[in-house]
Subunit: 178 residues, 2 copies
Amino acid sequence: MALSHAILALLVDCPQSGYDVTKKFESSVGFFWKATHQQVYKELARLEELNLVSVERIPQEGRPDKKRYTLTEAGKQYLADWISQPAEMMPIKEEMLVRVFVGYLVAPEIVLKELQRHRQLHADRLACYQQIEREEFPQLPNLPIPQRYPYLALRRGIRYEQDCVAWCEEAIALLNEP
Amino acid sequence: MALSHAILALLVDCPQSGYDVTKKFESSVGFFWKATHQQVYKELARLEELNLVSVERIPQEGRPDKKRYTLTEAGKQYLADWISQPAEMMPIKEEMLVRVFVGYLVAPEIVLKELQRHRQLHADRLACYQQIEREEFPQLPNLPIPQRYPYLALRRGIRYEQDCVAWCEEAIALLNEP
DNA sequence: AGCGACATGTAATACGTTACATGATTGG
DNA sequence: CCAATCATGTAACGTATTACATGTCGCT
Protein backbone atom coordinates (compact mmCIF):
# COMPACT_ATOMS: atom_id res chain seq x y z
CA MET A 1 0.00 0.00 0.00
CA ALA A 2 2.01 2.91 -1.28
CA LEU A 3 -0.50 5.63 -0.45
CA SER A 4 0.24 5.27 3.24
CA HIS A 5 3.95 5.62 2.55
CA ALA A 6 3.45 8.72 0.44
CA ILE A 7 1.44 10.27 3.29
CA LEU A 8 4.06 9.36 5.89
CA ALA A 9 6.72 10.83 3.59
CA LEU A 10 4.85 14.14 3.55
CA LEU A 11 4.72 14.22 7.34
CA VAL A 12 8.48 13.73 7.83
CA ASP A 13 9.45 17.39 7.76
CA CYS A 14 6.48 18.99 9.47
CA PRO A 15 3.20 18.00 11.11
CA GLN A 16 0.21 18.69 8.92
CA SER A 17 -3.56 18.36 8.66
CA GLY A 18 -5.38 16.10 6.22
CA TYR A 19 -6.27 19.21 4.31
CA ASP A 20 -2.62 20.24 3.97
CA VAL A 21 -1.62 16.73 2.90
CA THR A 22 -4.36 16.73 0.27
CA LYS A 23 -3.08 19.99 -1.15
CA LYS A 24 0.43 18.60 -1.44
CA PHE A 25 -0.99 15.74 -3.45
CA GLU A 26 -2.05 18.40 -5.93
CA SER A 27 1.49 19.80 -6.13
CA SER A 28 4.86 18.51 -4.82
CA VAL A 29 4.28 14.78 -4.27
CA GLY A 30 1.39 15.03 -6.69
CA PHE A 31 3.98 14.83 -9.48
CA PHE A 32 4.33 11.14 -8.85
CA TRP A 33 1.43 10.10 -6.64
CA LYS A 34 -2.23 11.07 -6.51
CA ALA A 35 -4.87 10.94 -3.79
CA THR A 36 -8.18 12.66 -3.10
CA HIS A 37 -9.12 14.14 0.26
CA GLN A 38 -11.45 11.23 0.99
CA GLN A 39 -8.59 8.78 0.64
CA VAL A 40 -6.27 10.94 2.71
CA TYR A 41 -8.64 11.37 5.66
CA LYS A 42 -9.41 7.66 5.78
CA GLU A 43 -5.77 6.68 5.51
CA LEU A 44 -4.70 9.13 8.23
CA ALA A 45 -7.27 7.60 10.58
CA ARG A 46 -5.86 4.16 9.83
CA LEU A 47 -2.27 5.30 10.34
CA GLU A 48 -3.26 6.74 13.70
CA GLU A 49 -4.74 3.43 14.81
CA LEU A 50 -1.43 1.80 13.90
CA ASN A 51 0.37 4.47 15.97
CA LEU A 52 2.48 5.52 13.00
CA VAL A 53 1.17 9.07 13.41
CA SER A 54 -0.24 10.98 16.37
CA VAL A 55 -2.99 13.58 16.31
CA GLU A 56 -3.45 16.90 18.00
CA ARG A 57 -6.88 18.49 17.81
CA ILE A 58 -6.72 22.24 17.30
CA PRO A 59 -10.09 23.84 18.08
CA GLN A 60 -11.14 26.59 15.71
CA GLU A 61 -14.05 28.94 15.54
CA GLY A 62 -16.53 28.80 12.70
CA ARG A 63 -14.93 25.76 11.11
CA PRO A 64 -14.32 22.13 12.04
CA ASP A 65 -11.45 21.37 14.41
CA LYS A 66 -8.13 21.14 12.66
CA LYS A 67 -6.35 17.83 13.26
CA ARG A 68 -2.62 18.10 13.10
CA TYR A 69 -0.88 14.79 12.41
CA THR A 70 2.71 14.15 13.46
CA LEU A 71 4.93 11.25 12.43
CA THR A 72 5.78 9.10 15.48
CA GLU A 73 9.14 7.42 16.04
CA ALA A 74 7.50 4.13 15.06
CA GLY A 75 6.21 5.78 11.91
CA LYS A 76 9.64 7.10 11.02
CA GLN A 77 11.16 3.66 11.55
CA TYR A 78 8.41 2.06 9.50
CA LEU A 79 9.08 4.48 6.63
CA ALA A 80 12.83 3.91 6.77
CA ASP A 81 12.29 0.13 6.67
CA TRP A 82 9.99 0.47 3.69
CA ILE A 83 12.46 2.65 1.77
CA SER A 84 15.11 -0.01 2.27
CA GLN A 85 13.04 -2.65 0.50
CA PRO A 86 13.26 -3.07 -3.28
CA ALA A 87 10.72 -1.09 -5.31
CA GLU A 88 8.49 -2.65 -7.97
CA MET A 89 8.59 -1.55 -11.57
CA MET A 90 5.32 0.21 -12.28
CA PRO A 91 3.37 -0.02 -15.55
CA ILE A 92 2.79 3.20 -17.51
CA LYS A 93 -1.03 3.07 -17.83
CA GLU A 94 -1.49 5.90 -20.32
CA GLU A 95 -5.00 6.16 -21.71
CA MET A 96 -3.67 8.23 -24.59
CA LEU A 97 -1.54 5.31 -25.75
CA VAL A 98 -4.48 2.93 -25.91
CA ARG A 99 -6.14 5.46 -28.22
CA VAL A 100 -3.09 5.91 -30.42
CA PHE A 101 -2.59 2.14 -30.59
CA VAL A 102 -5.83 1.78 -32.56
CA GLY A 103 -5.85 5.31 -33.97
CA TYR A 104 -6.25 4.02 -37.55
CA LEU A 105 -9.92 3.39 -36.72
CA VAL A 106 -10.69 7.10 -36.92
CA ALA A 107 -9.79 9.98 -39.21
CA PRO A 108 -6.11 11.03 -38.89
CA GLU A 109 -7.06 14.63 -38.03
CA ILE A 110 -8.77 13.46 -34.85
CA VAL A 111 -5.63 11.76 -33.56
CA LEU A 112 -3.42 14.63 -34.68
CA LYS A 113 -5.56 17.21 -32.93
CA GLU A 114 -5.51 15.18 -29.75
CA LEU A 115 -1.72 14.77 -29.95
CA GLN A 116 -1.38 18.51 -30.32
CA ARG A 117 -3.59 19.11 -27.31
CA HIS A 118 -1.54 16.65 -25.27
CA ARG A 119 1.68 18.25 -26.33
CA GLN A 120 0.35 21.50 -24.89
CA LEU A 121 -0.85 19.89 -21.64
CA HIS A 122 2.56 18.37 -21.02
CA ALA A 123 4.38 21.55 -22.02
CA ASP A 124 2.29 23.49 -19.47
CA ARG A 125 3.00 20.95 -16.76
CA LEU A 126 6.68 21.12 -17.64
CA ALA A 127 6.70 24.91 -17.27
CA CYS A 128 5.07 24.52 -13.87
CA TYR A 129 7.73 22.03 -12.72
CA GLN A 130 10.52 24.25 -13.98
CA GLN A 131 9.16 27.17 -12.03
CA ILE A 132 9.18 25.03 -8.88
CA GLU A 133 12.76 24.07 -9.70
CA ARG A 134 13.77 27.74 -9.77
CA GLU A 135 11.81 28.67 -6.66
CA GLU A 136 12.53 25.73 -4.39
CA PHE A 137 16.08 24.90 -5.44
CA PRO A 138 17.88 28.21 -5.96
CA GLN A 139 21.22 26.85 -4.64
CA LEU A 140 21.67 24.74 -7.74
CA PRO A 141 23.98 23.20 -8.79
CA ASN A 142 25.47 22.96 -5.28
CA LEU A 143 22.68 21.35 -3.33
CA PRO A 144 23.03 20.23 0.32
CA ILE A 145 22.80 16.43 0.58
CA PRO A 146 19.31 16.03 2.10
CA GLN A 147 17.76 18.38 -0.47
CA ARG A 148 19.14 16.29 -3.30
CA TYR A 149 16.52 13.60 -2.70
CA PRO A 150 13.36 15.65 -3.26
CA TYR A 151 15.18 17.42 -6.08
CA LEU A 152 15.74 14.13 -7.86
CA ALA A 153 12.04 13.36 -7.61
CA LEU A 154 11.28 16.72 -9.22
CA ARG A 155 13.92 16.04 -11.89
CA ARG A 156 12.08 12.85 -12.77
CA GLY A 157 8.91 14.86 -13.25
CA ILE A 158 10.71 17.36 -15.47
CA ARG A 159 12.33 14.67 -17.58
CA TYR A 160 9.03 12.83 -17.88
CA GLU A 161 7.16 15.85 -19.20
CA GLN A 162 9.98 16.73 -21.60
CA ASP A 163 9.82 13.21 -22.93
CA CYS A 164 6.03 13.38 -23.34
CA VAL A 165 6.36 16.60 -25.34
CA ALA A 166 9.10 15.10 -27.51
CA TRP A 167 7.06 11.96 -28.17
CA CYS A 168 3.99 13.98 -29.16
CA GLU A 169 6.12 15.92 -31.64
CA GLU A 170 7.63 12.72 -33.01
CA ALA A 171 4.15 11.22 -33.37
CA ILE A 172 2.75 14.29 -35.14
CA ALA A 173 5.70 14.27 -37.53
CA LEU A 174 5.35 10.57 -38.35
CA LEU A 175 1.61 10.77 -38.97
CA ASN A 176 2.11 13.75 -41.26
CA GLU A 177 4.68 11.98 -43.41
CA PRO A 178 3.48 10.92 -46.85
CA MET B 1 -13.21 2.50 -17.75
CA ALA B 2 -10.11 2.12 -19.84
CA LEU B 3 -9.59 -1.62 -19.33
CA SER B 4 -12.59 -2.39 -21.50
CA HIS B 5 -11.19 -0.16 -24.23
CA ALA B 6 -7.78 -1.79 -24.08
CA ILE B 7 -9.44 -5.21 -24.46
CA LEU B 8 -11.59 -4.05 -27.37
CA ALA B 9 -8.45 -2.59 -28.97
CA LEU B 10 -6.78 -5.99 -28.80
CA LEU B 11 -9.72 -7.64 -30.51
CA VAL B 12 -9.78 -5.28 -33.51
CA ASP B 13 -7.38 -7.25 -35.66
CA CYS B 14 -8.29 -10.79 -34.77
CA PRO B 15 -10.74 -12.70 -32.56
CA GLN B 16 -9.10 -14.07 -29.46
CA SER B 17 -9.71 -15.97 -26.25
CA GLY B 18 -9.42 -14.49 -22.77
CA TYR B 19 -6.23 -16.43 -22.41
CA ASP B 20 -4.75 -14.85 -25.54
CA VAL B 21 -5.81 -11.38 -24.42
CA THR B 22 -4.20 -11.93 -21.04
CA LYS B 23 -0.94 -12.90 -22.68
CA LYS B 24 -0.94 -9.74 -24.78
CA PHE B 25 -1.30 -7.76 -21.57
CA GLU B 26 2.05 -9.25 -20.64
CA SER B 27 3.64 -8.08 -23.89
CA SER B 28 2.41 -5.71 -26.64
CA VAL B 29 -0.33 -3.65 -24.98
CA GLY B 30 1.23 -4.57 -21.67
CA PHE B 31 3.75 -1.79 -22.33
CA PHE B 32 1.14 0.76 -21.39
CA TRP B 33 -1.71 -1.11 -19.73
CA LYS B 34 -1.84 -4.02 -17.30
CA ALA B 35 -4.51 -6.57 -16.44
CA THR B 36 -4.59 -10.00 -14.83
CA HIS B 37 -6.51 -12.93 -16.25
CA GLN B 38 -9.19 -12.56 -13.58
CA GLN B 39 -9.89 -9.02 -14.72
CA VAL B 40 -9.88 -10.00 -18.38
CA TYR B 41 -12.35 -12.89 -18.05
CA LYS B 42 -14.78 -10.80 -16.04
CA GLU B 43 -14.53 -7.83 -18.39
CA LEU B 44 -15.03 -10.00 -21.47
CA ALA B 45 -18.22 -11.40 -19.94
CA ARG B 46 -19.44 -7.85 -19.32
CA LEU B 47 -18.56 -6.73 -22.85
CA GLU B 48 -20.51 -9.66 -24.21
CA GLU B 49 -23.62 -8.65 -22.25
CA LEU B 50 -23.29 -5.20 -23.78
CA ASN B 51 -23.04 -6.83 -27.22
CA LEU B 52 -19.72 -5.14 -27.94
CA VAL B 53 -18.16 -8.55 -28.50
CA SER B 54 -19.61 -11.90 -29.53
CA VAL B 55 -18.48 -15.34 -28.36
CA GLU B 56 -17.95 -18.61 -30.11
CA ARG B 57 -17.43 -21.65 -27.94
CA ILE B 58 -14.81 -24.00 -29.32
CA PRO B 59 -15.06 -27.42 -27.64
CA GLN B 60 -11.76 -29.03 -26.82
CA GLU B 61 -10.74 -32.33 -25.37
CA GLY B 62 -9.01 -32.58 -22.04
CA ARG B 63 -9.22 -28.85 -21.37
CA PRO B 64 -11.97 -26.30 -20.81
CA ASP B 65 -13.82 -25.02 -23.88
CA LYS B 66 -12.02 -22.20 -25.59
CA LYS B 67 -14.15 -19.07 -25.96
CA ARG B 68 -13.23 -17.00 -28.96
CA TYR B 69 -14.34 -13.37 -28.67
CA THR B 70 -14.94 -11.24 -31.74
CA LEU B 71 -15.48 -7.48 -31.87
CA THR B 72 -18.99 -6.69 -33.11
CA GLU B 73 -19.85 -3.74 -35.36
CA ALA B 74 -21.33 -2.02 -32.32
CA GLY B 75 -18.07 -2.67 -30.47
CA LYS B 76 -16.01 -1.21 -33.28
CA GLN B 77 -18.20 1.88 -33.37
CA TYR B 78 -18.00 2.19 -29.60
CA LEU B 79 -14.19 2.04 -29.72
CA ALA B 80 -13.99 4.61 -32.53
CA ASP B 81 -16.25 6.97 -30.55
CA TRP B 82 -14.09 6.56 -27.47
CA ILE B 83 -10.87 7.26 -29.38
CA SER B 84 -12.39 10.51 -30.64
CA GLN B 85 -12.90 11.82 -27.12
CA PRO B 86 -10.12 13.76 -25.36
CA ALA B 87 -7.79 11.68 -23.19
CA GLU B 88 -7.00 12.53 -19.58
CA MET B 89 -3.48 13.24 -18.41
CA MET B 90 -2.45 10.35 -16.19
CA PRO B 91 -0.32 10.68 -13.04
CA ILE B 92 3.02 8.85 -12.95
CA LYS B 93 2.54 6.79 -9.75
CA GLU B 94 6.10 5.55 -9.33
CA GLU B 95 6.76 3.84 -6.01
CA MET B 96 10.48 4.33 -6.54
CA LEU B 97 10.02 8.12 -6.50
CA VAL B 98 8.25 8.09 -3.16
CA ARG B 99 11.28 6.26 -1.77
CA VAL B 100 13.80 8.62 -3.33
CA PHE B 101 11.79 11.64 -2.13
CA VAL B 102 12.58 10.76 1.48
CA GLY B 103 15.77 8.83 0.77
CA TYR B 104 17.76 10.91 3.29
CA LEU B 105 16.10 8.84 6.03
CA VAL B 106 18.34 5.87 5.24
CA ALA B 107 22.01 5.30 4.47
CA PRO B 108 23.01 6.60 1.00
CA GLU B 109 24.28 3.18 -0.08
CA ILE B 110 20.78 1.73 0.23
CA VAL B 111 19.31 4.26 -2.17
CA LEU B 112 22.28 4.01 -4.53
CA LYS B 113 22.04 0.24 -4.69
CA GLU B 114 18.34 0.42 -5.43
CA LEU B 115 18.91 3.02 -8.14
CA GLN B 116 21.48 0.75 -9.73
CA ARG B 117 19.07 -2.17 -9.63
CA HIS B 118 16.37 -0.05 -11.22
CA ARG B 119 18.70 1.16 -13.92
CA GLN B 120 19.25 -2.47 -14.82
CA LEU B 121 15.54 -3.35 -14.77
CA HIS B 122 14.73 -0.51 -17.14
CA ALA B 123 17.71 -1.28 -19.38
CA ASP B 124 16.48 -4.88 -19.69
CA ARG B 125 12.96 -3.76 -20.52
CA LEU B 126 14.38 -1.37 -23.08
CA ALA B 127 16.35 -4.14 -24.77
CA CYS B 128 13.15 -6.19 -24.92
CA TYR B 129 11.22 -3.34 -26.58
CA GLN B 130 14.01 -2.73 -29.06
CA GLN B 131 13.95 -6.36 -30.07
CA ILE B 132 10.22 -6.11 -30.71
CA GLU B 133 10.90 -2.99 -32.77
CA ARG B 134 13.31 -4.93 -34.99
CA GLU B 135 11.07 -7.98 -35.28
CA GLU B 136 7.67 -6.39 -35.75
CA PHE B 137 8.60 -3.29 -37.71
CA PRO B 138 11.31 -4.35 -40.20
CA GLN B 139 10.04 -1.93 -42.92
CA LEU B 140 11.29 1.04 -40.96
CA PRO B 141 11.61 3.91 -41.67
CA ASN B 142 8.94 3.55 -44.40
CA LEU B 143 5.98 2.24 -42.48
CA PRO B 144 2.52 1.79 -44.02
CA ILE B 145 0.01 4.20 -42.46
CA PRO B 146 -2.03 1.80 -40.27
CA GLN B 147 1.11 0.29 -38.77
CA ARG B 148 2.34 3.69 -37.68
CA TYR B 149 -0.17 3.78 -34.83
CA PRO B 150 0.94 0.71 -32.89
CA TYR B 151 4.53 1.65 -33.72
CA LEU B 152 4.08 5.02 -32.00
CA ALA B 153 2.81 3.25 -28.90
CA LEU B 154 5.93 1.10 -28.90
CA ARG B 155 8.09 4.20 -29.44
CA ARG B 156 6.56 5.70 -26.31
CA GLY B 157 7.61 2.60 -24.39
CA ILE B 158 11.14 2.79 -25.76
CA ARG B 159 11.49 6.49 -24.97
CA TYR B 160 10.08 5.95 -21.51
CA GLU B 161 12.59 3.25 -20.62
CA GLN B 162 15.47 5.26 -22.07
CA ASP B 163 14.41 8.16 -19.91
CA CYS B 164 14.20 5.97 -16.80
CA VAL B 165 17.73 4.70 -17.41
CA ALA B 166 19.02 8.24 -17.95
CA TRP B 167 17.35 9.50 -14.78
CA CYS B 168 18.80 6.65 -12.71
CA GLU B 169 22.25 7.54 -13.99
CA GLU B 170 21.71 11.22 -13.25
CA ALA B 171 20.51 10.37 -9.75
CA ILE B 172 23.48 8.08 -9.04
CA ALA B 173 25.86 10.80 -10.24
CA LEU B 174 24.25 13.52 -8.11
CA LEU B 175 24.22 11.40 -4.95
CA ASN B 176 27.88 10.52 -5.46
CA GLU B 177 28.96 14.14 -5.76
CA PRO B 178 30.87 15.54 -2.79
C1' DA C 1 8.02 -36.95 -10.89
C1' DG C 2 7.50 -32.11 -11.55
C1' DC C 3 7.14 -27.83 -14.04
C1' DG C 4 5.24 -24.75 -17.41
C1' DA C 5 1.87 -23.87 -20.92
C1' DC C 6 -2.99 -24.22 -21.91
C1' DA C 7 -7.70 -22.67 -20.39
C1' DT C 8 -11.25 -21.06 -17.42
C1' DG C 9 -13.28 -19.23 -13.58
C1' DT C 10 -15.05 -17.71 -8.17
C1' DA C 11 -14.48 -15.14 -3.83
C1' DA C 12 -12.61 -12.04 -0.66
C1' DT C 13 -10.33 -8.12 0.12
C1' DA C 14 -8.03 -3.78 -0.84
C1' DC C 15 -7.86 0.45 -3.11
C1' DG C 16 -9.76 4.43 -5.78
C1' DT C 17 -13.53 7.48 -7.54
C1' DT C 18 -17.78 9.94 -7.34
C1' DA C 19 -21.54 11.74 -5.04
C1' DC C 20 -23.37 13.55 -0.94
C1' DA C 21 -23.08 16.50 3.33
C1' DT C 22 -21.96 20.70 6.23
C1' DG C 23 -20.79 25.39 7.16
C1' DA C 24 -17.96 29.83 8.15
C1' DT C 25 -14.75 33.29 5.99
C1' DT C 26 -12.64 36.07 2.40
C1' DG C 27 -12.18 38.45 -2.01
C1' DG C 28 -13.96 40.02 -6.46
C1' DC D 1 -24.07 37.79 -4.27
C1' DC D 2 -21.17 34.24 -5.92
C1' DA D 3 -17.14 31.58 -5.98
C1' DA D 4 -13.16 29.98 -3.77
C1' DT D 5 -10.74 28.55 0.31
C1' DC D 6 -10.69 26.38 4.66
C1' DA D 7 -11.82 21.89 7.03
C1' DT D 8 -13.79 17.53 7.84
C1' DG D 9 -16.08 13.50 6.87
C1' DT D 10 -19.77 9.23 5.14
C1' DA D 11 -21.67 6.10 1.59
C1' DA D 12 -21.96 3.84 -2.64
C1' DC D 13 -19.86 2.16 -6.32
C1' DG D 14 -16.20 0.67 -9.48
C1' DT D 15 -11.72 -1.27 -10.28
C1' DA D 16 -7.62 -4.11 -9.04
C1' DT D 17 -5.16 -7.56 -6.44
C1' DT D 18 -4.63 -11.93 -4.15
C1' DA D 19 -5.88 -16.34 -3.00
C1' DC D 20 -8.33 -20.33 -4.21
C1' DA D 21 -9.85 -23.92 -7.59
C1' DT D 22 -9.55 -27.42 -11.50
C1' DG D 23 -7.52 -30.41 -14.89
C1' DT D 24 -4.77 -31.97 -19.37
C1' DC D 25 -0.68 -32.14 -22.17
C1' DG D 26 4.17 -32.16 -23.29
C1' DC D 27 8.86 -31.78 -21.97
C1' DT D 28 12.96 -32.88 -19.14
